[in-house]
Point group: C2
Chain length 354, copies 2
């Protein structure tokens, strides 16, 4: 393999000097892009798109053809692991992910097993290898998974939830059962992310979408503890290159110190956090990724530029910042506004890296 | 008027010594109580119940007949003020509050006026006076309103929202328009809460349900700034007694210092915050209210007791804690579990007030 042409993202994650602040966007390959919607229509549905390495490669590369982004992210879903456990992932129109066989019985929980990523998740590994070839070392490829607790939320509730009543009922009433699920999930996610790394992922990210619905104590016991185990089990190097990792808990702004203490390389920030204060709290330990409110992308380019400038100024001089949104890009975002965002990050960040 | 028989709640809000930690529950008069559902059925719908002082009095008192709570809270809605501005509040089955005439046009925004609480919100003042008489000084009565930003969310979106796209579009693209709405709302809420105080409310609470969806900078500029104005304009004494106030931003855990700096008497905490850490951060300045995860009430009484003990222990010795949930009580909560909660708070808190 030849060297990466643009390693700014990987360097920033390791807090090494860079010429500017790198930028990529959560869900950058998605429904705001007309070309994505065309490919998805050809695939039939979202899950068929995820499971077809040719089409997953195609949509992963689409945003890079439009915008000078500093990283690509594997096109996939955070719930591939429980699908591989046999729970039957599907997507119903407008309702997000669902499971055909949610965990309702104790025997089903006791039967949960770690899926072999090389067989049950072969399609993901094939997509990773194929995307790496297609990227041709232009920018690094990010692999990812949902966190053990986030996976458990969907596995127990059977889909998204307003109040997570069932997972919380188990947490308070049958904590040992939830710990069992989380233990299996943590081992499964570790194996899954390591397999992605071996297939070519150059950084990995753990999405803890729902850890933020827990109490302070429950977050530490039921979400962060298992993320920490994954981080400890992740490969940190592959093919002679460092493979940094990122942990992102949405709504985790008051737990940044604890997240940074897991041993991860970078902490993702949602848009509610002031990145300057976050850097004061944890910036000597980890890189920070974020954190523009995705809603800013509905405003005019000059407003986007102002808000980008504010975040860059708040982070301040030096390396260790990967610019991103604080949450996935919204469906109706005008693609031109993404151009304005990426341009603003690249143009305005140079002075902080002098 | 004779003196209150139980002023523990008011004393705790002012961080004066008490014999135990007082407790009340957000939405304590609500759908988890069969007697509430009966009264609501007689009223026809939720809004008719709010607007009928006899029935509002009846449901306000229902939880006090079951549980030895230390405060009553006016039965009403957080959106009465924009309803009085003419926006037409209504409730559609299972979808929460909606407005018939949301703010869609600039002229409508410019036309917004502060409603006179004594005429347009007469039904609320009548309910407050009537509840006070019915309470007969057993426990104090809490009045409340939504925060200016939370009201604006519903006024602009026309109802609840997943992403608050319209209010955020205005915030970033037309901030002066949003500031105009917030200015009118702040003046209206101040007049409304002061009228409640004059009618007999013995403490008041501002519910900032949606401030937590904003970025750090936007929260301070568009939500907290207007809450601060209200706090500065609130009556602090009525009929010879102090009238303390409480500010609660759901999802505001990383802004506690700023909230405490508004000059309020107490800060409400959602369940994601560790109350011990919160006390370290702001407890010398304000009382704290909260913060059990409402989901704990689905667990068995012994689990409820353990979780209550944990929060009491985390807050530690001394006054300045009002026990509450971190969010409104859930619809399907077993009333027996509320008994267990109230009993646990009263029994287990004594040792922290020795």
């Amino acid at each position: 393999m030849t060297a990466l042409k643009n390693d700014t993202f990987l360097r920033a994650l390791q807090r090494q000097p860079t010429a500017y602040t790198p930028v990529w966007l959560m869900r950058q390959a998605g429904r705001y892009l007309p070309e994505y919607n065309q490919t998805r229509a050809r695939a039939g549905d979202f899950l068929s798109l995820c499971k077809n390495p040719d089409l997953a490669t195609e949509v992963t590369l689409q945003p890079l053809a439009r915008f000078p982004l500093d990283a690509a992210i594997l096109f996939s879903d955070i719930l591939t692991v429980p699908d591989a456990m046999g729970l039957g992932l599907y997507f119903s129109q407008g309702e997000g992910p669902k499971f055909e066989r949610p965990l309702r019985e104790e025997w089903a929980i006791r039967d949960l097993a770690v899926p072999d990523p090389e067989t049950h998740l072969r399609y993901v590994m094939d997509a990773v290898s194929q995307i790496r070839r297609a990227l041709d070392n232009q920018v690094p490829l990010i692999g990812f998974s949902g966190s053990p607790f986030t996976l458990a939320c969907y596995m127990i509730e059977g889909g998204s939830s307003q109040d997570f009543a069932q997972v919380k009922a188990m947490l308070y009433q049958r904590p040992e059962l939830l710990h069992h699920i989380l233990d299996v999930n943590a081992r499964a996610v570790t194996a899954y992310l390591n397999a992605q790394i071996e297939s070519g992922a150059q950084a990995v990210m753990i999405f803890d979408t729902w850890g933020g619905v827990l109490s302070h104590a429950a977050y530490h016991e039921f979400s962060l503890r298992y993320i920490e185990r994954i981080v400890a089990g992740l490969k940190r190097e592959h093919a002679g290159a460092a493979v940094p990792n990122i942990v992102f808990t949405k709504g985790g702004g008051h737990w940044l110190e604890s997240i940074a203490a897991t041993g991860c390389d970078a902490v993702g920030l949602d848009w509610t956090v002031d990145i300057g204060l976050a850097r004061e709290r944890v910036g000597a330990k980890v890189a920070l990724q974020g954190n523009l409110d995705p809603a800013v992308l509905f405003a005019a380019p000059e407003v986007i530029r102002t808000e980008v400038a504010r975040i860059l100024e708040r982070f301040g001089p030096g390396s260790g910042h990967v610019f991103n949104l604080g949450h996935g890009i919204a469906q109706h975002t005008p693609p031109d506004h993404v151009s304005a965002l990426v341009e603003a990050v690249h143009q305005l960040s140079g002075k902080y890296h002098a």
